[in-house]
Symmetry: C2
Subunit: 236 residues, 2 copies
């Protein structure tokens, strides 16, 4: 790792990443800065990326250099990196205070770190333009999607056709690599009527998706189960 080659000292606590993204937030003029504890920054999967799919990193992804912290929410993946500092004290910069999950606006809360488990499904059939209801003809439908979690591998994905009242297990494939999306699928014998399709992921850390999302002022870490209204119509 670069940090080891650079000769990090034993009293190092945090690694501070500074991006060229400059602005004013709540009256404070700043460059975007986020830190990682030394142990996280030294993880073998943490990267400084200068290319993607064999081409230079595009500007919107952080050209020329971007921090990638697999499993963490996007605020940790500092773009347009201009500086990396190793600090012997805990870094308390503006953006370390900004990304916290608070139940009350004035409480201290907890830092946002890894990605909560989540499953999404491919909406079946075709859309009704205004309502976004999906229109499906009756018969055997393969409902499929992907699931992921930054905490631990996905253990199971369940589906519901009644808006979360009852759940059925799906067939889950292993993710192609530790941070990849896991494919899941389920066969649905669709008969005429109105449905709400949902999928719910659980991971090996014991986390799963909520049916009612707890409120937090930043709107962070939302992993409420997806709801897809479906109208199964008579065979056309």
């Amino acid at each position: 790792p670069l940090l080891r080659e650079a000769g990090m000292q034993s009293n190092a606590v945090d690694v501070v990443f500074t991006g060229a993204d400059h602005g004013v937030e709540r009256g404070v003029e700043q460059d975007y800065q986020r830190s990682l504890p030394v142990a996280e920054a030294m993880h073998e999967d943490v990267l400084l990326a200068y290319e993607m799919n064999g081409a230079p990193l595009p500007p919107q992804h952080g050209y020329p250099l971007r921090l990638v912290v697999p499993g963490w929410y996007g605020m940790a993946h500092v773009k347009w990196l201009s500086q990396v500092d190793v600090a012997a004290v805990s870094f308390e910069g503006f953006q370390m205070r900004a990304y916290r999950v608070r139940r009350q606006p004035d409480e201290d809360g907890v830092p946002l770190t890894r990605i909560e488990p989540r499953a999404l499904l491919v909406p079946p059939g075709f859309p009704d333009f205004m309502s976004r209801t999906r229109v499906v003809r009756p018969g055997l439908i393969t409902v499929e999607g992907r699931a992921w979690s930054g905490w631990a591998p996905v253990r199971a994905v369940e589906v519901s056709v009644d808006g979360g009242d009852t759940w059925a297990p799906t067939s889950l494939e292993p993710a192609p690599h530790r941070w990849g999306w896991a494919r899941w699928s389920w066969s649905w014998e669709a008969t005429p009527g109105s449905y709400v399709l949902s999928a719910r992921a659980s991971d090996m850390s014991g986390r799963s998706q909520p049916i009612d999302q707890p409120w937090n002022p930043g709107g962070f870490a939302n992993n409420l189960v997806q709801r897809v209204p479906v109208a199964v119509i008579a065979a056309g």
Copy 2:
């Protein structure tokens, strides 16, 4: 042109393009269909595109084949083309009725066709996160942007720093080709204070951008002048 090679007959009126985009709109199940009058469809710049920048057309741009009608709004550029028909009578399909500019919801209105003139400017300085006001330090600033029109080449671009009360001419470069964006720039001696920057394009057909946008129920053909709030602060 393909249409000539296909042996179009002399009584042809409209060319109807059908895409694979299937859905329900206002209760009508349909594939997306739009027509062009024969004279427009035969224009030498109208293309069936199967690649872009030397690579196959991406799915989101209409893979495997998409109609491109330079100078027209996007509704004419039918994606995922599945069929091309030549009709001896005027085509009156659903999407021909949908894209019309109406001053009253129940009037017949006029069809949406070519792109109205428009100029955009690169917001100078850096942003205030919440208000999106741009923060600029005093001094000589190059304000620059691009302008285009589907009706005729851009004739002039003017800028305003007082929200449209007064206007100054900019330096305009010719567009790189008939349908390209024309670059424009202007030097601004910025002194501390609050401003609203705008740019306004006029084309050789006599069209220019409005300061107050006439209302229409579809929200089509909006080319209201851009407004960028700027705070010039003391030199930092």
